[in-house]
Protein backbone atom coordinates (compact mmCIF):
# COMPACT_ATOMS: atom_id res chain seq x y z
CA UNK A 1 0.00 0.00 0.00
CA UNK A 2 1.17 3.48 -0.72
CA UNK A 3 0.93 6.44 1.60
CA UNK A 4 1.69 4.45 4.79
CA UNK A 5 2.95 6.60 7.65
CA UNK A 6 6.47 5.82 8.71
CA UNK A 7 6.49 5.47 12.46
CA UNK A 8 9.53 6.44 14.38
CA UNK A 9 10.94 3.90 16.73
CA UNK A 10 11.05 5.22 20.29
CA UNK A 11 14.41 5.33 22.04
CA UNK A 12 15.60 6.10 25.57
CA UNK A 13 15.96 9.72 24.48
CA UNK A 14 12.16 9.98 24.43
CA UNK A 15 11.03 11.18 27.83
CA UNK A 16 8.35 8.53 28.34
CA UNK A 17 10.64 5.72 27.20
CA UNK A 18 13.71 6.84 29.12
CA UNK A 19 13.95 3.78 31.38
CA UNK A 20 12.67 1.24 28.84
CA UNK A 21 14.89 -1.68 27.92
CA UNK A 22 17.03 -0.45 25.04
CA UNK A 23 17.49 -3.90 23.51
CA UNK A 24 13.74 -4.42 23.44
CA UNK A 25 13.10 -1.07 21.75
CA UNK A 26 15.67 -1.84 19.05
CA UNK A 27 13.99 -5.11 18.17
CA UNK A 28 10.33 -4.09 18.61
CA UNK A 29 7.88 -3.30 15.84
CA UNK A 30 7.29 0.48 15.97
CA UNK A 31 3.70 0.07 14.79
CA UNK A 32 2.92 -2.22 17.71
CA UNK A 33 4.49 0.22 20.17
CA UNK A 34 2.37 3.04 18.82
CA UNK A 35 -0.91 1.24 19.46
CA UNK A 36 -3.38 2.20 22.18
CA UNK A 37 -6.48 0.51 23.47
CA UNK A 38 -9.17 3.17 23.80
CA UNK A 39 -11.84 3.06 26.50
CA UNK A 40 -14.57 5.40 27.63
CA UNK A 41 -16.13 5.61 31.05
CA UNK A 42 -19.58 7.15 30.72
CA UNK A 43 -20.62 10.02 33.03
CA UNK A 44 -21.37 8.71 36.50
CA UNK A 45 -20.20 5.22 35.65
CA UNK A 46 -17.64 3.20 37.62
CA UNK A 47 -15.19 0.97 35.80
CA UNK A 48 -12.79 -1.32 37.63
CA UNK A 49 -9.91 -2.94 35.85
CA UNK A 50 -7.40 -5.45 37.18
CA UNK A 51 -4.37 -6.44 35.16
CA UNK A 52 -1.70 -9.02 35.78
CA UNK A 53 1.38 -9.13 33.62
CA UNK A 54 2.51 -12.50 34.87
CA UNK A 55 5.97 -13.87 35.23
CA UNK A 56 7.02 -16.80 33.10
CA UNK A 57 7.20 -15.05 29.76
CA UNK A 58 10.84 -14.13 30.04
CA UNK A 59 11.64 -13.75 26.37
CA UNK A 60 11.14 -10.42 24.68
CA UNK A 61 8.61 -8.20 26.33
CA UNK A 62 5.10 -6.89 26.76
CA UNK A 63 3.80 -3.40 26.19
CA UNK A 64 0.20 -2.60 27.03
CA UNK A 65 -1.12 0.91 26.47
CA UNK A 66 -4.56 1.94 27.57
CA UNK A 67 -6.18 5.31 26.95
CA UNK A 68 -9.25 6.03 29.04
CA UNK A 69 -11.62 8.96 28.90
CA UNK A 70 -13.65 9.37 32.07
CA UNK A 71 -16.86 11.36 31.80
CA UNK A 72 -18.31 13.69 34.44
CA UNK A 73 -18.37 12.15 37.91
CA UNK A 74 -17.27 8.83 36.51
CA UNK A 75 -14.64 6.66 38.17
CA UNK A 76 -11.89 4.56 36.71
CA UNK A 77 -10.16 2.30 39.23
CA UNK A 78 -7.26 0.22 38.05
CA UNK A 79 -4.98 -2.17 39.95
CA UNK A 80 -2.12 -3.98 38.29
CA UNK A 81 0.63 -6.46 39.00
CA UNK A 82 3.64 -6.24 36.76
CA UNK A 83 5.66 -9.40 37.32
CA UNK A 84 6.60 -10.06 33.72
CA UNK A 85 9.82 -9.83 31.80
CA UNK A 86 12.13 -9.32 30.17
CA UNK A 87 10.68 -5.90 29.50
CA UNK A 88 7.15 -5.28 30.73
CA UNK A 89 5.29 -2.02 30.56
CA UNK A 90 1.78 -0.94 31.36
CA UNK A 91 0.98 2.55 30.20
CA UNK A 92 -2.17 4.44 31.08
CA UNK A 93 -3.37 7.75 29.79
CA UNK A 94 -6.44 8.93 31.61
CA UNK A 95 -8.41 12.07 30.89
CA UNK A 96 -10.77 13.27 33.60
CA UNK A 97 -13.83 15.41 33.06
CA UNK A 98 -15.43 17.44 35.81
CA UNK A 99 -15.65 15.63 39.16
CA UNK A 100 -14.27 12.41 37.70
CA UNK A 101 -11.89 10.17 39.62
CA UNK A 102 -9.01 7.91 38.73
CA UNK A 103 -7.26 5.57 41.12
CA UNK A 104 -4.32 3.42 40.26
CA UNK A 105 -2.47 0.85 42.35
CA UNK A 106 0.48 -0.87 40.79
CA UNK A 107 3.16 -3.31 41.89
CA UNK A 108 6.28 -4.20 39.95
CA UNK A 109 7.95 -7.29 41.32
CA UNK A 110 10.78 -9.28 39.83
CA UNK A 111 14.40 -10.27 39.68
CA UNK A 112 17.02 -11.33 37.15
CA UNK A 113 17.48 -8.54 34.61
CA UNK A 114 13.81 -7.67 34.27
CA UNK A 115 12.73 -4.13 33.48
CA UNK A 116 9.20 -3.53 34.72
CA UNK A 117 7.40 -0.24 34.54
CA UNK A 118 4.26 1.73 34.89
CA UNK A 119 3.92 4.87 32.86
CA UNK A 120 0.90 7.02 33.57
CA UNK A 121 -0.36 10.31 32.31
CA UNK A 122 -3.37 11.79 34.04
CA UNK A 123 -5.00 14.75 32.40
CA UNK A 124 -7.17 16.79 34.69
CA UNK A 125 -9.09 18.42 31.86
CA UNK A 126 -11.92 19.97 33.91
CA UNK A 127 -12.41 21.22 37.47
CA UNK A 128 -12.87 19.10 40.59
CA UNK A 129 -11.45 15.86 39.30
CA UNK A 130 -9.35 13.71 41.64
CA UNK A 131 -6.63 11.13 41.10
CA UNK A 132 -4.76 8.79 43.43
CA UNK A 133 -1.83 6.66 42.38
CA UNK A 134 0.12 4.28 44.58
CA UNK A 135 2.98 2.28 43.11
CA UNK A 136 5.24 -0.18 44.93
CA UNK A 137 8.31 -1.81 43.44
CA UNK A 138 10.01 -4.93 44.80
CA UNK A 139 13.12 -5.88 42.86
CA UNK A 140 16.10 -8.18 43.25
CA UNK A 141 18.85 -9.58 41.06
CA UNK A 142 19.68 -6.73 38.69
CA UNK A 143 16.05 -5.97 37.89
CA UNK A 144 14.64 -2.46 37.61
CA UNK A 145 11.23 -1.12 38.63
CA UNK A 146 10.10 2.22 37.19
CA UNK A 147 7.24 4.60 37.68
CA UNK A 148 6.88 7.53 35.35
CA UNK A 149 3.88 9.52 36.44
CA UNK A 150 2.88 12.63 34.59
CA UNK A 151 0.03 14.81 35.75
CA UNK A 152 -1.37 17.56 33.53
CA UNK A 153 -3.72 20.07 35.04
CA UNK A 154 -5.14 22.27 32.30
CA UNK A 155 -6.02 25.91 32.74
CA UNK A 156 -9.34 26.29 34.56
CA UNK A 157 -9.21 22.77 36.03
CA UNK A 158 -9.62 24.37 39.45
CA UNK A 159 -9.97 22.27 42.62
CA UNK A 160 -8.00 19.48 41.06
CA UNK A 161 -6.79 17.05 43.71
CA UNK A 162 -4.05 14.74 42.50
CA UNK A 163 -1.64 12.52 44.41
CA UNK A 164 0.95 9.96 43.54
CA UNK A 165 3.17 7.92 45.80
CA UNK A 166 6.00 5.59 44.88
CA UNK A 167 8.03 3.34 47.15
CA UNK A 168 10.56 0.71 46.25
CA UNK A 169 12.39 -1.96 48.17
CA UNK A 170 15.46 -3.51 46.71
CA UNK A 171 16.07 -6.98 48.12
CA UNK A 172 19.57 -7.25 46.72
CA UNK A 173 22.41 -4.99 45.74
CA UNK A 174 22.28 -4.57 41.98
CA UNK A 175 18.53 -4.08 41.74
CA UNK A 176 17.29 -0.58 40.94
CA UNK A 177 14.23 1.64 40.93
CA UNK A 178 13.43 4.90 39.18
CA UNK A 179 10.65 7.33 39.90
CA UNK A 180 9.92 10.28 37.71
CA UNK A 181 7.01 12.45 38.68
CA UNK A 182 6.21 15.18 36.22
CA UNK A 183 3.70 17.87 37.03
CA UNK A 184 2.37 20.30 34.43
CA UNK A 185 0.03 22.60 36.23
CA UNK A 186 -1.77 25.46 34.54
CA UNK A 187 -4.51 26.13 37.09
CA UNK A 188 -3.92 27.87 40.43
CA UNK A 189 -6.33 26.25 42.88
CA UNK A 190 -4.82 22.78 42.79
CA UNK A 191 -3.66 20.14 45.27
CA UNK A 192 -0.91 17.99 43.88
CA UNK A 193 1.07 15.69 46.15
CA UNK A 194 3.83 13.30 45.28
CA UNK A 195 6.36 11.28 47.21
CA UNK A 196 9.00 8.69 46.46
CA UNK A 197 11.24 6.53 48.62
CA UNK A 198 13.67 3.73 47.94
CA UNK A 199 14.92 1.39 50.66
CA UNK A 200 15.71 -2.13 51.72
CA UNK A 201 13.67 -4.70 53.59
CA UNK A 202 13.45 -3.81 57.29
CA UNK A 203 16.29 -5.85 58.87
CA UNK A 204 15.09 -5.25 62.40
CA UNK A 205 11.66 -6.59 61.56
CA UNK A 206 13.26 -9.59 59.85
CA UNK A 207 15.32 -10.40 62.97
CA UNK A 208 12.31 -9.89 65.23
CA UNK A 209 10.41 -12.41 63.10
CA UNK A 210 13.35 -14.83 63.12
CA UNK A 211 13.58 -14.56 66.90
CA UNK A 212 10.01 -15.86 67.04
CA UNK A 213 10.83 -18.80 64.80
CA UNK A 214 9.79 -17.48 61.40
CA UNK A 215 12.25 -18.64 58.70
CA UNK A 216 13.80 -15.92 56.50
CA UNK A 217 11.84 -16.75 53.34
CA UNK A 218 8.52 -16.63 55.21
CA UNK A 219 9.51 -13.40 56.94
CA UNK A 220 10.41 -11.87 53.61
CA UNK A 221 7.10 -12.87 52.13
CA UNK A 222 5.13 -11.42 55.06
CA UNK A 223 7.08 -8.16 54.92
CA UNK A 224 6.76 -7.80 51.15
CA UNK A 225 3.06 -8.58 51.34
CA UNK A 226 2.56 -5.86 53.93
CA UNK A 227 4.65 -3.50 51.86
CA UNK A 228 2.77 -3.90 48.58
CA UNK A 229 -0.66 -4.05 50.19
CA UNK A 230 -0.89 -0.24 50.06
CA UNK A 231 -1.11 -0.43 46.28
CA UNK A 232 -4.23 -2.57 46.39
CA UNK A 233 -6.10 -0.62 49.04
CA UNK A 234 -8.31 0.81 46.31
CA UNK A 235 -9.60 -2.69 45.58
CA UNK A 236 -12.69 -3.10 47.74
CA UNK A 237 -13.40 -6.69 46.72
CA UNK A 238 -11.44 -8.74 49.26
CA UNK A 239 -11.20 -11.76 47.00
CA UNK A 240 -9.73 -9.74 44.14
CA UNK A 241 -7.30 -8.04 46.49
CA UNK A 242 -6.08 -11.39 47.81
CA UNK A 243 -5.71 -12.73 44.26
CA UNK A 244 -3.63 -9.72 43.22
CA UNK A 245 -1.41 -10.06 46.29
CA UNK A 246 -0.95 -13.77 45.62
CA UNK A 247 -0.12 -13.14 41.95
CA UNK A 248 2.52 -10.62 43.00
CA UNK A 249 3.97 -12.86 45.71
CA UNK A 250 4.13 -15.81 43.33
CA UNK A 251 6.94 -13.95 41.58
CA UNK A 252 8.87 -13.88 44.86
CA UNK A 253 8.29 -17.55 45.58
CA UNK A 254 10.80 -18.89 43.10
CA UNK A 255 13.36 -16.17 43.71
CA UNK A 256 16.85 -17.38 44.50
CA UNK A 257 17.59 -14.91 47.26
Amino acid sequence: MSGAVTLERPTNRDEEWRYADAGFLKAADPAALAQWMEWTVAPGEVVQEYRVLASGDEAGGTVERLRVHVGRNGRFECAAVNAAGHYARLELEVTLEQGAHFSFGGVTIGGEGKVQEFVTRVIHAEPEATSRQVVRAVQWGHATGNFLGRIDVVRDAQKTDAAQNFKAILLEKGAAANAKPELEIYADDVKCAHGAAIGALDRQAAFYMASRGIPPEVARKLLVRAYIADAFELVTDEEVRTRLLDEALAALEGAAL
Binding site: A210, S211, I214, V218, A226
Partner: protein
Protein backbone atom coordinates in the same frame (compact mmCIF):
# COMPACT_ATOMS: atom_id res chain seq x y z
CA UNK B 1 20.07 -26.11 79.99
CA UNK B 2 22.31 -23.20 79.00
CA UNK B 3 26.06 -23.31 79.36
CA UNK B 4 27.91 -20.19 78.30
CA UNK B 5 31.70 -20.58 78.44
CA UNK B 6 34.12 -17.73 78.03
CA UNK B 7 31.91 -16.02 75.44
CA UNK B 8 33.53 -13.20 73.50
CA UNK B 9 31.42 -11.20 71.10
CA UNK B 10 31.06 -7.76 69.64
CA UNK B 11 29.36 -5.47 67.18
CA UNK B 12 31.03 -3.96 64.12
CA UNK B 13 34.44 -5.23 65.21
CA UNK B 14 34.10 -3.66 68.64
CA UNK B 15 34.57 -6.23 71.44
CA UNK B 16 31.75 -6.00 73.99
CA UNK B 17 31.48 -9.36 75.75
CA UNK B 18 34.92 -10.20 77.04
CA UNK B 19 34.83 -13.75 78.35
CA UNK B 20 31.42 -14.33 79.87
CA UNK B 21 30.55 -17.62 81.54
CA UNK B 22 27.19 -18.66 82.95
CA UNK B 23 25.50 -21.95 83.75
CA UNK B 24 21.70 -22.03 83.87
CA UNK B 25 19.95 -25.22 84.99
CA UNK B 26 16.33 -26.22 84.38
CA UNK B 27 13.96 -24.69 86.91
CA UNK B 28 16.23 -21.73 87.62
CA UNK B 29 15.72 -18.03 87.26
CA UNK B 30 18.88 -15.97 86.89
CA UNK B 31 18.92 -12.19 87.07
CA UNK B 32 21.61 -10.28 85.23
CA UNK B 33 22.08 -6.75 86.44
CA UNK B 34 24.51 -4.11 85.38
CA UNK B 35 24.97 -0.48 84.44
CA UNK B 36 24.07 0.99 81.07
CA UNK B 37 26.45 -0.09 78.35
CA UNK B 38 27.66 -3.16 80.26
CA UNK B 39 26.73 -5.49 77.42
CA UNK B 40 23.43 -6.91 78.73
CA UNK B 41 21.51 -6.41 75.48
CA UNK B 42 24.53 -7.59 73.53
CA UNK B 43 24.38 -10.84 75.48
CA UNK B 44 20.69 -11.28 74.58
CA UNK B 45 21.22 -10.45 70.90
CA UNK B 46 24.28 -12.69 70.62
CA UNK B 47 22.35 -15.63 72.11
CA UNK B 48 19.44 -14.82 69.78
CA UNK B 49 21.77 -14.72 66.75
CA UNK B 50 21.13 -11.18 65.63
CA UNK B 51 22.99 -10.41 62.38
CA UNK B 52 25.96 -8.14 63.01
CA UNK B 53 26.70 -9.59 66.44
CA UNK B 54 29.86 -11.58 65.87
CA UNK B 55 31.20 -14.25 68.19
CA UNK B 56 34.99 -14.27 68.39
CA UNK B 57 35.47 -16.90 71.08
CA UNK B 58 33.89 -19.24 73.57
CA UNK B 59 30.89 -21.55 73.29
CA UNK B 60 27.20 -21.76 74.13
CA UNK B 61 25.48 -25.10 74.63
CA UNK B 62 21.68 -25.02 74.75
CA UNK B 63 19.91 -28.22 75.67
CA UNK B 64 22.94 -30.22 74.58
CA UNK B 65 23.25 -28.52 71.16
CA UNK B 66 25.66 -25.89 69.86
CA UNK B 67 23.46 -22.79 69.98
CA UNK B 68 25.87 -20.60 68.03
CA UNK B 69 25.74 -22.95 65.04
CA UNK B 70 21.98 -22.46 64.62
CA UNK B 71 20.13 -19.84 62.56
CA UNK B 72 18.05 -17.40 64.62
CA UNK B 73 14.73 -19.05 63.70
CA UNK B 74 16.17 -22.48 64.55
CA UNK B 75 17.15 -21.20 67.99
CA UNK B 76 13.54 -20.18 68.54
CA UNK B 77 12.29 -23.57 67.40
CA UNK B 78 14.78 -25.19 69.77
CA UNK B 79 13.03 -23.36 72.61
CA UNK B 80 14.79 -20.03 73.01
CA UNK B 81 12.74 -16.85 73.44
CA UNK B 82 14.20 -13.37 73.39
CA UNK B 83 12.11 -10.64 74.99
CA UNK B 84 13.19 -7.38 73.38
CA UNK B 85 14.14 -4.25 75.28
CA UNK B 86 12.68 -2.34 72.33
CA UNK B 87 10.04 -4.49 70.60
CA UNK B 88 9.94 -3.89 66.86
CA UNK B 89 6.95 -2.43 65.01
CA UNK B 90 5.84 -4.21 61.86
CA UNK B 91 3.23 -2.21 59.92
CA UNK B 92 0.85 -4.25 57.83
CA UNK B 93 1.33 -7.56 59.66
CA UNK B 94 -1.15 -8.33 62.43
CA UNK B 95 -0.03 -9.88 65.71
CA UNK B 96 -2.40 -12.79 65.12
CA UNK B 97 -0.93 -13.52 61.70
CA UNK B 98 2.63 -13.00 62.94
CA UNK B 99 2.27 -15.30 65.94
CA UNK B 100 0.40 -18.01 64.10
CA UNK B 101 3.12 -18.07 61.44
CA UNK B 102 5.74 -18.15 64.18
CA UNK B 103 4.13 -20.91 66.22
CA UNK B 104 3.40 -23.09 63.20
CA UNK B 105 6.88 -22.54 61.77
CA UNK B 106 8.34 -23.66 65.11
CA UNK B 107 6.05 -26.68 65.21
CA UNK B 108 7.00 -27.58 61.65
CA UNK B 109 10.71 -27.40 62.47
CA UNK B 110 10.04 -29.72 65.41
CA UNK B 111 8.03 -32.10 63.24
CA UNK B 112 4.67 -31.26 64.88
CA UNK B 113 1.34 -30.57 63.16
CA UNK B 114 0.26 -26.94 62.69
CA UNK B 115 -2.49 -25.47 64.89
CA UNK B 116 -5.73 -24.59 63.11
CA UNK B 117 -6.98 -20.99 63.11
CA UNK B 118 -9.51 -21.83 65.83
CA UNK B 119 -7.03 -23.61 68.07
CA UNK B 120 -4.56 -20.78 67.69
CA UNK B 121 -7.11 -18.08 68.57
CA UNK B 122 -8.15 -19.98 71.68
CA UNK B 123 -4.54 -20.16 72.83
CA UNK B 124 -3.93 -16.48 72.01
CA UNK B 125 -7.06 -15.43 73.90
CA UNK B 126 -6.00 -17.39 76.96
CA UNK B 127 -2.50 -15.85 77.04
CA UNK B 128 -3.77 -12.33 76.34
CA UNK B 129 -6.14 -12.70 79.30
CA UNK B 130 -3.26 -13.83 81.50
CA UNK B 131 -1.41 -10.61 80.70
CA UNK B 132 -4.62 -8.53 80.80
CA UNK B 133 -4.09 -7.43 77.21
CA UNK B 134 -7.22 -6.78 75.19
CA UNK B 135 -7.51 -9.49 72.51
CA UNK B 136 -8.52 -6.78 70.04
CA UNK B 137 -4.98 -5.42 70.27
CA UNK B 138 -3.64 -8.65 68.80
CA UNK B 139 -5.62 -7.96 65.65
CA UNK B 140 -3.62 -4.79 65.11
CA UNK B 141 -0.27 -4.60 63.32
CA UNK B 142 2.63 -5.87 65.41
CA UNK B 143 3.47 -3.28 68.11
CA UNK B 144 2.28 -0.37 65.95
CA UNK B 145 0.70 2.31 68.10
CA UNK B 146 1.28 0.31 71.29
CA UNK B 147 2.47 2.19 74.38
CA UNK B 148 5.76 1.12 75.96
CA UNK B 149 3.93 -0.90 78.59
CA UNK B 150 1.60 -2.54 76.07
CA UNK B 151 4.58 -3.62 73.99
CA UNK B 152 6.14 -5.31 76.99
CA UNK B 153 2.91 -7.04 77.91
CA UNK B 154 2.56 -8.15 74.28
CA UNK B 155 6.07 -9.61 74.49
CA UNK B 156 4.90 -11.73 77.40
CA UNK B 157 1.76 -12.79 75.52
CA UNK B 158 4.06 -13.95 72.72
CA UNK B 159 6.15 -15.86 75.23
CA UNK B 160 3.00 -17.52 76.58
CA UNK B 161 1.88 -18.58 73.13
CA UNK B 162 5.30 -19.81 71.97
CA UNK B 163 5.95 -21.61 75.28
CA UNK B 164 9.78 -21.61 75.19
CA UNK B 165 12.17 -23.61 77.36
CA UNK B 166 14.42 -20.67 78.02
CA UNK B 167 13.43 -17.02 78.03
CA UNK B 168 15.96 -14.20 77.92
CA UNK B 169 14.06 -11.11 78.94
CA UNK B 170 15.86 -7.86 78.24
CA UNK B 171 14.57 -5.11 80.50
CA UNK B 172 11.02 -6.32 80.22
CA UNK B 173 10.33 -4.17 83.28
CA UNK B 174 11.35 -0.86 81.75
CA UNK B 175 8.46 1.38 80.75
CA UNK B 176 5.99 -0.38 83.04
CA UNK B 177 3.91 1.31 85.69
CA UNK B 178 3.38 -0.42 89.05
CA UNK B 179 0.24 -2.33 88.04
CA UNK B 180 1.72 -3.47 84.74
CA UNK B 181 4.88 -4.53 86.55
CA UNK B 182 2.87 -6.83 88.80
CA UNK B 183 0.89 -8.25 85.85
CA UNK B 184 4.07 -8.90 83.89
CA UNK B 185 5.84 -10.39 86.91
CA UNK B 186 2.95 -12.75 87.62
CA UNK B 187 2.80 -13.59 83.92
CA UNK B 188 6.46 -14.58 83.87
CA UNK B 189 5.92 -16.80 86.90
CA UNK B 190 2.82 -18.44 85.41
CA UNK B 191 4.48 -19.15 82.07
CA UNK B 192 8.09 -19.89 83.02
CA UNK B 193 8.25 -20.96 86.69
CA UNK B 194 8.38 -24.67 85.88
CA UNK B 195 10.89 -27.41 86.62
CA UNK B 196 11.78 -27.86 82.93
CA UNK B 197 12.09 -24.16 82.07
CA UNK B 198 14.53 -21.38 82.85
CA UNK B 199 14.72 -17.60 82.66
CA UNK B 200 17.53 -15.12 82.20
CA UNK B 201 16.14 -11.87 83.50
CA UNK B 202 18.10 -8.84 82.38
CA UNK B 203 17.23 -5.81 84.44
CA UNK B 204 18.49 -2.56 85.86
CA UNK B 205 16.38 -2.51 88.95
CA UNK B 206 15.39 -4.65 91.87
CA UNK B 207 11.68 -3.91 91.44
CA UNK B 208 10.78 -6.72 89.00
CA UNK B 209 12.63 -9.12 91.28
CA UNK B 210 10.04 -8.45 93.99
CA UNK B 211 7.62 -10.42 91.80
CA UNK B 212 9.93 -12.81 90.00
CA UNK B 213 12.25 -14.16 92.67
CA UNK B 214 15.61 -15.07 91.16
CA UNK B 215 17.62 -18.06 92.30
CA UNK B 216 20.86 -16.42 91.23
CA UNK B 217 21.91 -12.83 90.64
CA UNK B 218 24.89 -11.79 88.53
CA UNK B 219 26.52 -8.43 88.05
CA UNK B 220 27.63 -7.72 84.49
CA UNK B 221 30.06 -4.86 83.96
CA UNK B 222 32.23 -4.12 80.95
CA UNK B 223 31.39 -7.41 79.24
CA UNK B 224 32.13 -9.74 82.14
CA UNK B 225 30.27 -11.19 85.09
CA UNK B 226 32.14 -9.67 87.99
CA UNK B 227 30.06 -10.99 90.85
CA UNK B 228 27.43 -13.66 91.45
CA UNK B 229 25.25 -14.41 94.44
CA UNK B 230 21.75 -15.13 95.68
CA UNK B 231 18.72 -12.79 95.73
CA UNK B 232 20.35 -10.69 98.47
CA UNK B 233 22.91 -9.46 95.91
CA UNK B 234 20.15 -7.58 94.06
CA UNK B 235 19.19 -5.79 97.25
CA UNK B 236 22.79 -4.94 97.94
CA UNK B 237 23.13 -3.48 94.43
CA UNK B 238 20.00 -1.42 94.89
CA UNK B 239 21.34 -0.04 98.18
CA UNK B 240 24.94 0.58 97.30
CA UNK B 241 25.13 0.89 93.51
CA UNK B 242 27.05 -1.10 90.93
CA UNK B 243 30.35 0.60 91.50
CA UNK B 244 30.56 -0.16 95.19
CA UNK B 245 29.40 -3.77 94.82
CA UNK B 246 31.38 -4.67 91.71
CA UNK B 247 34.61 -3.09 92.89
Amino acid sequence: MLEISNLQAGVAGKPILKGLSLDVKPGEIHAIMGPNGAGKSTLGYTLGGRPGYGVTGGSVIFDGADLLAMEPHERAAAGLFLGFQYPVEIPGVSFVQFLREALNAQRKTRGEDPLSGGEFLKLAREKAALLKLDMEMLKRPVNVGFSGGEKKRAEMVQMGILDPKLAILDETDSGLDIDALRIVGEGINAIMRKPDKAVLLITHYQRLLDYVKPDHVHVLTAGRIVKSGGPELALELEREGYEAVAA
